[in-house]
């Protein structure tokens, strides 16, 4: 959003960005909702629903909301739709997660809110479901000029490797993601260990902990325990805002892996592809939109498959480079911020023609 808002303003759209407020309990609940919507079994109590409604009501009462078009991102602020009558305008729900097979209790609770929106946006076709409102497919994007994606001088990359004690002499396999069970960090370590039995290489698992994800500390502890002080496994807790460091780690990598069990869109894959890196990633969520198997990367379905693909790429660097090159072109045409902005502008126009699938300006 921090990259989109200035560009929208440049185009004459008076765009603003507000954040809802919530306490730790609220975020515990929304994390459960998040997992449940992804299809994971979660124990949801009546208190959880009450907590969600109370915090939502507080935000409904206190939040400054006005505009011709209101974008609501993710399920957490979904209930703000209750302000629609007062505020007016067109309301869009930007859903970043997979709601195709949700926990029925959570979905039944949230669905009445969703149905009040004028349109919903999903990052992948598989995330959608039949709804009584128009649904659009708009993939997220990366900004190639941001700190996370811009070109870096070799000195910067070397400095970051040195800082974290990562050797340049061995191939580097990297996963960049939050410490979250859905990113399967333990599975990544297991796949790495299989590869390590045959090829001398190292694993970098770089991630942060999200403020709205109370689970992440627990996951980090488990991952560290599983790494078992293996000198070739680098578990890096990267502080927020360290985009240059993430960029440097991705650019220093030989292969980038994204072994998620479930995924929204998985922008880290786009970031890796943009850096022309060969990517091995799970065939879940939006990753399948970014990786055309064996053309822009390799799609996998399990730990053994991931290990096999990693070995293939480590021993066939020309093939790995070819995948990386294709991946970069793929991202250039589909997942850069300019395409994203264009889609938003088209969406604004589409909202003005709710009945038409084709219209002239």
């Amino acid at each position: 959003m921090s990259r989109m808002i200035p560009l929208l303003k440049e185009l004459g759209v008076d765009a603003r960005w507000n954040i809802i407020q919530g306490n730790n309990e609220f975020f515990q609940v929304t994390k459960k909702f998040h997992n449940a919507l992804h299809g994971r079994t979660e124990k949801i109590t009546k208190n959880d629903f009450n907590c969600f409604q109370e915090t939502s009501q507080k935000n409904i009462d206190e939040m400054e909301l006005d505009g011709d078009i209101i974008f609501i991102h993710d399920p957490q602020p979904l209930a703000l739709i209750n302000r629609k009558e007062k505020v007016g305008g067109k309301w869009i729900w930007r859903c970043h997660i997979d709601i195709s097979r949700p926990n029925p209790a959570v979905w039944n609770f949230l669905e009445p809110y969703v149905n009040q929106y004028d349109a919903a946006i999903f990052s992948a076709p598989a995330f959608s479901r039949q709804l009584p409102l128009r649904q659009f497919l708009i993939s997220p994007s990366i900004d190639p000029l941001s700190d996370k994606n811009k070109e870096l001088p070799q000195q910067t990359i070397d400095a970051v490797l040195e800082k974290y004690g990562i050797s340049r002499d061995k191939p580097i396999i990297t996963q960049v993601s939050r410490f979250d069970y859905l990113k399967d960090p333990v599975g990544v370590i297991q796949a790495f260990e299989i590869v390590r039995n045959h090829i001398d290489c190292q694993l970098v698992f770089a991630g942060g902990t999200a403020t709205d994800d109370p689970e992440s500390d627990k996951v980090l502890a488990e991952v560290r325990e599983r790494a078992n002080n293996n000198p070739d496994i680098h578990i890096l807790l990267i502080p927020p805002g360290s985009d240059i460091e993430i960029n440097a780690l991705q650019r220093a990598s030989t292969i980038i892996v994204q072994k998620s069990l479930s995924e929204g869109f998985g922008l880290t894959v786009s970031e890796a592809l943009w850096k022309a890196k060969p990517v091995v990633a799970s065939a879940v969520g939006g990753i399948t939109l970014q990786i055309r198997d064996k053309f822009t990367g390799l799609l996998t379905y399990g730990i053994e498959g991931t290990a096999y693909d990693l070995r293939q790429l480590l021993t066939n660097p020309e093939y790995a480079n070819w995948l990386g090159k294709n991946g970069k072109e793929y991202v250039r045409h589909r997942f850069l911020i300019t395409r994203h902005i264009r889609d938003y502008m088209l969406l604004f126009l589409a909202l003005e023609h709710p009945q038409d699938d084709i219209f002239y300006l």
Partner: protein
């Protein structure tokens, strides 16, 4: 009076002899002139060159003066006049000869240039320039000879002329290369007013006017570009030739942008795919049989559709995938017939193979369509050349809209280009040729090139 009579009676011989010589010489010379002109006329009548007549016409009158002058000079030589006066009178006659000769030459130059101009109208500027330069040279030489005849010094005049020439060269030093370039361009005759040209630096348009210093180009957007002549002689220029037939209505290029709309409908196996497809709106069928055309713009052409890809990758059935992939939408008059064929193939396959494979969760077939926004562009074509130039510049989205979406999604039955070329330009043959192109076997860039190639061939 008495003195005069006395002088004449004393010197009658000195007077009568020159008069007789003058008369005899004049009669003889006029007779010779007439004979010469008659002979010249006979020769001219055998030749068709119009310059001959100019030559005779220019010499006819001055030659009378020349006969008189020669006769007078002969008479003068026989007279008893003093040498001093003889010299002065001879110089006078010589001066008259120089002047009439100069005028005769000027008349000849004028006449010849008029003839050349009739044949080479496009080089009017050059011919006039050469004519004026020759006339100035002839007059200048005439003046110099006259001055020399009367023993007047020509040194100062020569120096003055040189100084004037130097000043002119300095004043017009920037213009001179353009004038010289103009002569080069006109002499070469590589283009003319009305031609459509494209210069290597990118400027292009119809030549509206040519001049000594520059040419004026009229662009397709109706702007005027002024290009100095000496830049043209140093550039590579493509000349597309003359003006072409104008269309009764111009072709206005539109651009098309789209947003993918999800329907929430999905299929997990072949039976579900066939059942949903059977009742799916045309927009959905159109999307799944066409969107790959835009997706593959940097890869190679491949006959494909989403149904074939899904059957192959999600159900692992490459036999059915191949059958579905081989269905070319170009062979069907509309989306309805295409849908019937797809459903027919799937149902037939289910019946013969009992394929009940299911896709993995998350790998279902998701039915989608698009919201298309059609936006007018600034490109407008009134003839085939303007059309070709616009075709080079429009976006691939624009090309896609006019070839595919307009024909099938808007249900026009033919692509927009074919309709315009046939209905508004009356170029039926070209329209038919474009209608016969199977656009599904090209990448969009390849299709663009193919269309340009065919239209350019027609222009030539």
């Amino acid at each position: 009076m008495d003195n005069l009579i006395t002088t004449i009676s004393d010197n009658w011989l000195d007077i009568i002899v020159p008069i007789i010589i003058f008369g005899a010489a004049l009669i003889t010379l006029l007779w010779l002139r007439k004979r010469a002109l008659l002979s010249l006329n006979r020769i001219i009548n055998k030749s068709n060159w119009p310059g001959n007549r100019i030559l005779i016409h220019s010499l006819k009158r001055p030659s009378i003066f020349w006969c008189i002058i020669i006769s007078a000079l002969l008479a003068l030589a026989a007279s008893s006049t003093t040498t001093y006066w003889k010299n002065i009178i001879a110089k006078g006659f010589w001066s008259v000869f120089i002047i009439t000769f100069t005028f005769a030459l000027i008349t000849i130059i004028n006449g010849f240039s008029a003839i050349i101009l009739l044949q080479y109208k496009q080089h009017k500027n050059v011919i006039n320039l050469v004519k004026n330069i020759l006339m100035v040279i002839v007059i200048t030489i005439g003046i110099f000879i006259l001055l020399d005849t009367w023993a007047i010094s020509t040194t100062y005049l020569l120096i003055s002329i040189i100084i004037i020439l130097i000043i002119l060269a300095l004043v017009f030093r920037d213009i001179a290369p353009n004038i010289i370039a103009s002569i080069q361009l006109n002499t070469a005759g590589q283009f003319k007013v009305g031609d459509y040209i494209k210069i290597e630096s990118g400027e292009e348009g119809y030549i509206a006017a040519t001049g000594w210093r520059n040419i004026e180009l009229k662009t397709l957007e109706d702007n005027t570009i002024i290009i100095p002549n000496n830049r043209l002689t140093r550039s590579t220029i493509v000349n597309y030739g003359h003006l072409l037939k104008k269309a009764s209505e111009p072709f206005r290029f539109n651009n098309r942008m789209h947003l993918t709309r999800l329907t929430g409908l999905k299929a997990r196996n072949l039976q579900e795919l066939a059942d949903i497809l059977k009742n799916a709106p045309d927009d959905i069928v159109y999307y799944h049989t066409h969107h790959f055309l835009e997706e593959q713009y940097y890869t190679v052409p491949q006959l494909s559709n989403d149904f074939a890809v899904w059957v192959d990758t999600a159900l692992g059935d490459d036999i059915l995938a191949e059958r579905l992939a081989s269905i070319g939408p170009f062979d069907f008059p509309g989306i309805g017939a295409l849908r019937d064929r797809l459903v027919g193939i799937i149902n037939e396959y289910i019946n013969t193979t009992n394929n009940f494979r299911e896709a993995e969760p998350g790998r279902d077939f998701y039915f989608m369509t698009t919201v298309s926004v059609i936006i007018p562009t600034t490109y407008v074509a009134h003839d085939l050349r303007e059309f070709t130039e616009a075709l080079r510049k429009i976006s691939l989205g624009s090309l896609y809209f006019h070839i595919f979406e307009s024909k099938l999604r808007l249900g026009k039955g033919l692509n927009d280009f074919t309709v315009w070329i046939n209905d508004d330009l009356g170029e039926k043959e070209l329209a038919d040729e474009i209608a016969r192109i199977d656009p599904y076997t090209y990448t969009l860039e390849g299709l663009r090139s193919s269309l340009i190639q065919r239209i350019e061939k027609r222009i030539k």
